[in-house]
């Protein structure tokens, strides 16, 4: 059986647009995720990278997010409806975070002295 031939063979094959990847792909993704985490920690400990640390960490974190959602959660291979349902929630969450950060950076909270 080839690495990419495993679909939902348990009677639910009708709901997948494409076959799911196999163990080799999963292990490869796991190695990549571990390597990215190592790079993140390495970047955190290096003073020379402080200027680009935040965008670098955010990019690496987003890459890990996409890899897990795309391959381990099979969103890359499943029906687009699942991407839409999840993506809507994700979009709202990202909008809330962005809006709050913008608002409170524009109008900083007063420091309350007890």
């Amino acid at each position: 059986m080839s690495d990419h031939s495993l679909a939902h063979e348990g009677g639910h094959g009708h709901e997948t647009a494409h076959a799911h990847p196999g163990p080799k792909t999963y292990v490869l993704i796991g190695v990549v995720l571990a390597a990215i985490t190592l790079i993140e920690v390495w970047a955190y400990t290096h003073e020379a990278l402080q200027a680009v640390l935040v965008p670098m960490l955010l990019s690496l974190s987003a890459l890990k997010f996409v890899l897990v959602v795309g391959f381990y959660m099979h969103l890359k291979f499943d029906h687009p409806v699942f991407t839409g349902v999840f993506g809507f929630g994700l979009l709202v969450a990202a909008s809330v975070i962005t809006a709050f950060l913008f608002l409170f950076h524009q109008y900083p909270l007063p420091i309350h002295h007890p």
Binding site: G10, H12, H14, H20, P23, L33, A34, V41, L58, F65
Partner: protein, 216 residues
């Protein structure tokens, strides 16, 4: 319309004796357009959980650097220790997806090994979080100590609760399998549990970066 109804009644087949074999309705789950409703529902839940964690992360970030007194993040965070926890949770995602792959191949014994490994790794992560919380408490950081303590414990505490629920779910599935009730044709049950587990992992990916690694 009033004349059509009697025709329909007449056209209905006469009542017959009960079929010799009962209908297997317990496996006939409703679906929309070929998509199993349980899987759609899980994705909808995960989407709503994104909003939940989004608000908690937003609150943490808004109140970042606004604590009047310590302990502050840079004083108590142990990045190498938390990195190991992050590795453990990433590894548990790999074992989870390998468990699903094994069940889809019909390798139930191997699936149980990966499933129990996933639950164990989740338990290790929880143990690490308990140790971290205890250490922070002894260093003076409590839920009501300062803004950092309130937002940090709320965010990571809710994430830990999600992990704990996931561990119970995985153990329940493992017990189901040991009783011979989780076979290849039930792989969707494991896939749905896996979706939840991977979601817990991606939330930690964000928390690890936004809370621990990005400097004050």
């Amino acid at each position: 319309m009033t004349q059509a109804l009697p025709v329909l009644v007449e056209a209905a087949p006469p009542p017959t004796s009960p079929p010799s074999e009962p209908l297997v309705l317990e496996h006939a789950h409703p679906s929309i357009g070929g998509l199993d409703n349980r899987k759609v529902l899980m994705w909808a839940f995960l989407g709503s959980d994104c909003m939940f964690f989004g608000t908690l992360i937003a609150t943490y970030m808004v109140y970042k650097n606004r604590s009047i007194d310590g302990p502050l993040p840079r004083e108590i965070f142990d990045i190498p220790y938390t990195s190991v926890s992050a590795f453990v949770l990433l590894l548990s995602s790999l074992t989870m997806v390998l468990a699903l792959s094994s069940l889809q191949r019909g390798e139930e014994r191997r699936m149980r090994v990966w499933l129990i490994a996933t639950a164990l790794l989740g338990t290790v992560f929880l143990g690490g979080q308990f140790y971290e919380f205890t250490t922070f408490y002894h260093e003076g950081l409590t839920l009501s100590r300062n803004l950092f303590g309130s937002t940090f414990f709320t965010l990571t505490g809710f994430h830990g609760t999600h992990v704990a629920i996931g561990v119970f779910w995985l153990l329940a599935l493992a017990a189901h399998s040991f009783r011979g009730r989780l076979h290849r044709e039930h792989s969707l049950l494991l896939e749905i549990a896996g979706l939840y587990w991977h979601f817990v992992d991606i939330v930690w990916i964000l928390i690890f970066t936004l809370v621990y690694l990005i400097p004050d």
